[in-house]
Symmetry: C2
Subunit: 140 residues, 2 copies
């Protein structure tokens, strides 16, 4: 009863646009829009329909992740564009490295800021709890 997974006819590595849309809970329009913006490049079938590889899917995931912490599509393009650099020249590589360091620094800053907000909210919670207690201790 434990056959290797093989449910549909999809070659395991190809996704339709609607499959991805459902998986990530976005519209097909959104996915096509990202393509318009040259952020993702699916192949086409004979009938001109888009087919997304596992790699395309990963890229889409990255885009959405970027969005979730407030990067604009343009910034995301830069970030993921970085992962596509041609490794022809050493210089290119070094530039990519440097760029990556900046990004890393930014991300760590964001993490720290979020932790700050977390603290803000936590102390606020404490504040509320105290008030609640005093309400119950000395009612009316």
């Amino acid at each position: 009863m434990d056959k290797p997974d093989q449910e549909k006819k999809e070659p395991e590595d190809a996704f339709t646009i609607s499959a991805l849309a459902e998986e990530f809970d976005i519209s097909t329009r959104t996915i096509r829009f990202y393509e318009e913006k040259n952020m993702i490049f699916p192949q086409r079938t004979d009938g001109n329909q888009r087919i997304y590889s596992r790699r395309d899917r990963a890229r889409l995931k990255l885009i959405l992740r970027g969005k979730r912490f407030g990067y604009s599509l343009e910034e995301i393009s830069e970030i993921i564009g970085m992962t596509e650099v041609d490794f022809d020249e050493e210089n290119q590589i070094k530039k990519a490295l440097k760029f990556g360091k900046r990004r890393l620094a930014e991300i760590r800053e964001r993490i720290n800021e979020l932790k700050l907000l977390e603290q803000d909210l936590l102390s606020f919670q404490e504040n509320i709890k105290t008030r609640l207690d005093s309400l119950n201790t000395s009612p009316k």
Copy 2:
């Protein structure tokens, strides 16, 4: 030579709109816009000019921080609105607590996602370095 700081005539707790704009590197229009959206409520002078208290300033800071991790102004309004709840009723307090818990969970999730991205970028960096090394080890 170490007199207590006292440079201008500002009562140490009042800020002009342009002072805040400069401090946070945003436009005065932006600050007024937040007021339009009922996110901040400065007092007025006799001449009808806005004066911002230390508290207003903190709030502005919060708004901007929220923006930096991708919250919309509306979401930010909810978050900071929470810190303004009237503590009239126990029920209100409990609601605020619950709401805060959700927000905290969200924020922690964001932190985790960011750490994920950090890892992605880090391993990518390693990848690049390796390539760079092999370039230098076996040149041409």
